[in-house]
């Protein structure tokens, strides 16, 4: 029973309930075992390219993971440092300070972060309903925008209690940078003459 049955052409297909532990098992199994992963890749590629076309070795597909450009991240970091002193704040060891001192600095950081968010992003909740209210998701809902948790069984519509409204950025307004600008200097050193 604890050995996954190979998918067969004679019509016995695993149910959804069966497929969930299967998928989790496969995920960790593939992650841990390179040989298993290689065999899986064979099976999967075989499914994509039918055996009839197996004469040509399948070209490695383009990577599905994209490499983010560091520029925008560096820019945001620079803004958070400039307006909220975030790097300074997080970089400090809190153990020597009283909560009142930390609180005073946190005010600066809070105000600054709020300014950066307000000026550079337009944020709206993903769901307009109040948190705690009952929400029903119809079939075909956007799984990227709503994460269902808890007793996730059966078929949509899913009814549940809204725990967090989520946030969606509707507009990003990052400053434009000069061609030669070195974004890695997120805060220049200051030398007073």
């Amino acid at each position: 029973m604890n050995r996954p049955e190979p998918p067969s052409s004679d019509g016995v297909k695993p149910s959804l309930l069966r497929r969930i532990p299967l998928a989790f098992g496969a995920f960790f199994g593939l992650l841990a075992n390179a040989d298993l992963a290689a065999r899986y890749a064979e099976v999967r590629d075989g499914a994509v390219a039918p055996p009839a076309a197996a004469t040509a070795a399948p070209a490695p597909g383009p990577s599905v993971l994209k490499e983010p450009s560091p520029d925008a991240a560096l820019q945001l970091l620079a803004l958070l440092q400039r307006d909220a002193r975030l790097i300074d704040f997080v970089g400090e060891d809190l153990s020597g300070y009283a909560d009142a001192q930390i609180g005073a600095a946190a005010r600066l950081v809070h105000e600054g972060c709020a300014k950066v968010l307000r000026e550079h992003f337009s944020l709206v909740p993903v769901r307009e309903e109040a948190e705690g209210s009952r929400v029903t998701l119809q079939a075909g809902f956007d799984a990227a925008a709503v994460r269902v948790t808890g007793n996730v069984v059966g078929q949509p519509p899913f009814a549940g209690s809204l725990r967090h409204r989520g946030w969606r950025v509707t507009e990003v307004r990052l400053p434009k940078l000069a061609e030669q600008h070195d974004a890695r200097v997120v805060a220049p050193a200051e030398l007073e003459l």
Partner: protein
């Protein structure tokens, strides 16, 4: 040139500039298609962001201070200056390279406004700029921003209105026009800021303004910006069944604004810290000023929800990277804000109160002539008192002065319009209105209504754009013409008395209320000009003498009746005459379409005319 598609309004402010526009073709009557232009500007080296306002600051960086490309803008610009937010933030740490308040310098009669004098405390190696250049830089930046956003409708082909304080003298007006021309305005008009605020209110009402004012109303516009306070009175008349607006009076030039208030608070808090043993350096004081501004806004109830709190914490960040260990925490209490801002700048004074002026110490002072009395309400009381007779000659208003308000000691406004960021605080607006209404109640008059709904930051730019549209015949226009009568000083022909300066009489050359595009008649009195030599005349303006016509000679006047401006200067070219010859001329005044005053010297015979220049060189500089 094709007909302009946009009416562009530029608020060239002391601390911020903004651009608004009305799409002339797309608008229909009082339903206008309008907007404001986000202005791309450097906010950090090599970083360009669009913001609704352009801080009116110019930074002159050291040659090694910026890396290559740090001053790059969306449009090609080769000049090595920074304008806007970067200039302001850089300048806060290096004030010797920062040009600020250029507009206040532009109307400072004590300095040469074409000379490179700013930043005025810069060391010799900094290549300074003139107040005129600085204003030109701001206008050029705004123009480039427009051309970048609207390549299909070049700035030079649009109708441009630039706003100025109502109290600007003729020389400052002419310099503003010169700056705008240099920056590429071809069709240009000047508009007084308080009028612009009222235009914006009219536009925003979408036609509803006719229900909110009645004939007989006198609207007091109180405009307290970042650096200046400006007052105007606008009367509402009915003529042929239509409502007409007449600007009947403007106030003096008062260098007093929101920035002074923030600074006053910061110094108060700094004193409190000093008493507890913590002294702040200049950098920390600036950070404290910034923190005080936000705390003040919260305490005065212009941020949401937190009105009614008694104290706001203030944290002055450390300059180094030890944020928690190095920051200084204190607080600003509602009582301190009340004492410093509400009672310091808006005290509840009597209508008879007048600004206190201290005797200035020495002549060495070359800084800006800041208002000596910080109380806006006292300046306001003085303005209304001085303008008691402002509507006496306007039809339908005689009764107001004669019967209803017999014995009135000041002009009674019936409505108030606020403008300027200071009045984002409802508390300050309420206090000002309550003070004015207290004066009215004391003389048995009805309280003034508040005309609400203005956008306090952008109203001036919006109103200016709307005015450009109105000038195309699409709405009500505020009338009024020049808000001053102008005079030249002539030495009276009295026998000389040893030890006594011959008394000066004032000859009226331009009466009150000259409309744009009109000319004054020639006065009968002739003045002698020496050929080939610059001849200076003393020059005066009056905001109260409405009845004088061209040629009126005044022998004596009350101190605040006539205000002496910088002198005017005429130079007759020696062609066809021998040098040293004295030519009798008469002075002829004209108000241009743009709204500037032009004076010409007209000789008795022949069709020649010579332009008379406003002296913008400043006496003190000449002496130096």
């Amino acid at each position: 040139m094709s007909a302009p598609r946009f009416a562009i309004g530029i608020d060239l402010g002391t601390t911020h500039s903004a651009l608004a526009y009305v799409d002339i073709a797309g608008s229909d009557g009082e339903a206008t298609v309008h907007g404001t232009l986000p202005i791309p500007q450097l906010t950090a080296p090599g970083t360009v962001e669009s913001m609704p306002l352009l801080p009116s600051f110019l930074y002159l960086p050291h040659a090694d201070e910026m890396a290559a490309g740090d001053l790059v803008l969306p449009w090609p610009a080769d000049d090595q200056h920074a304008v806007g937010e970067l200039a302001r933030s850089r300048g806060a740490t290096t004030p010797i390279r920062l040009v600020s308040s250029a507009k206040s310098w532009l109307c400072h009669p004590g300095v040469d406004r074409r000379a490179s004098i700013l930043p005025h405390d810069a060391p010799p190696e900094v290549a300074r700029v003139s107040p005129l250049d600085a204003s030109t830089h701001y206008l050029e930046h705004v123009r480039n921003a427009w051309d970048h956003a609207h390549p299909e409708a070049p700035f030079a082909q649009q109708d441009v209105t630039v706003t100025i304080p109502a109290s600007f003298d003729p020389a400052a007006r002419e310099l503003t026009v010169e700056a705008a021309k240099t920056a590429g305005c071809s069709s240009l008009t000047l508009l007084e800021e308080p009028q612009s605020a009222l235009y914006s209110w009219i536009e925003a009402s979408g036609g509803g303004w006719r229900k909110q004012v009645q004939p007989g109303d006198i609207i007091l516009v109180i405009d307290v910006g970042g650096g200046t306070s400006d007052f105007s009175l606008i009367a509402v008349l009915e003529r042929d069944g239509n409502l007409e607006l007449h600007r009947v009076a403007v106030g003096e030039h008062i260098l007093l604004g929101g920035d002074n208030m923030d600074l006053a608070l910061a110094h108060g808090v700094a004193r409190k810290l000093a008493a507890a043993g913590t002294t702040l350096d200049a950098w920390q004081l600036r950070a404290l000023t910034y923190a005080c501004r936000s705390a003040k806004e919260r305490l005065l109830g212009d941020a949401d929800g937190s009105a009614g709190t008694t104290a706001q914490p203030i944290v002055v960040p450390s300059r180094g990277s030890k944020l928690i260990g190095g920051s200084i925490r204190t607080e600003l209490t509602a009582d301190e804000v009340g004492a410093t801002i509400v009672d310091g700048f808006f005290p509840q004074v009597e209508a008879a109160a007048r600004p206190v002026s201290r005797v200035r110490a020495g002549l060495a002072q070359l800084g800006l002539p800041y208002a000596q009395d910080a109380a806006v309400t006292r300046h306001l009381a003085a303005f209304l008192g001085r303008q008691l007779g402002a509507v006496a000659e306007l039809e339908g208003f005689g009764a107001r002065i004669g019967n209803g308000a017999q014995g009135a000691s000041f002009l009674h406004p019936t409505a108030v319009l606020f403008n300027g960021g200071v009045f984002k605080s409802a508390l300050l607006a309420d206090r000002t209105l309550a003070t004015v209404n207290g004066w009215l109640a004391a003389e048995g008059a009805a309280p003034a209504r508040l005309l609400g709904g203005a956008d306090l930051d952008l109203a001036v730019a919006r109103g200016a754009a709307y005015y450009g549209y109105v000038r195309h015949g699409h709405g009500v226009r505020i009338r009024g013409g020049t808000a001053f009568a102008y005079y030249v000083g002539v030495e009276s022909s009295m026998p000389a008395v040893p030890g006594i300066e011959p008394p000066v009489e004032a000859l009226c050359v331009a009466p009150f209320g000259m409309e744009e595009g009109t000319e004054a008649e020639l006065p009968a009195l002739e003045l002698g000009l020496v050929v080939g030599e610059p001849v200076h005349f003393r020059f005066f303006a009056s905001s109260v003498r409405r009845q004088d016509s061209v040629g009126t000679l005044i022998g004596a006047w009350a101190p605040d009746e006539l205000q002496e401006l910088a002198p005017i200067c005429a130079t007759l070219p020696p062609e066809g005459r021998s040098a040293g010859e004295v030519v009798p001329v008469r002075l002829h005044a004209r108000v241009t379409e743009a709204g500037t005053l032009e004076l010409e010297a007209v000789p008795r015979s022949g069709g020649e005319r010579w332009k008379i220049e406003f002296d913008v060189r400043g006496e003190r500089q000449q002496d130096a």
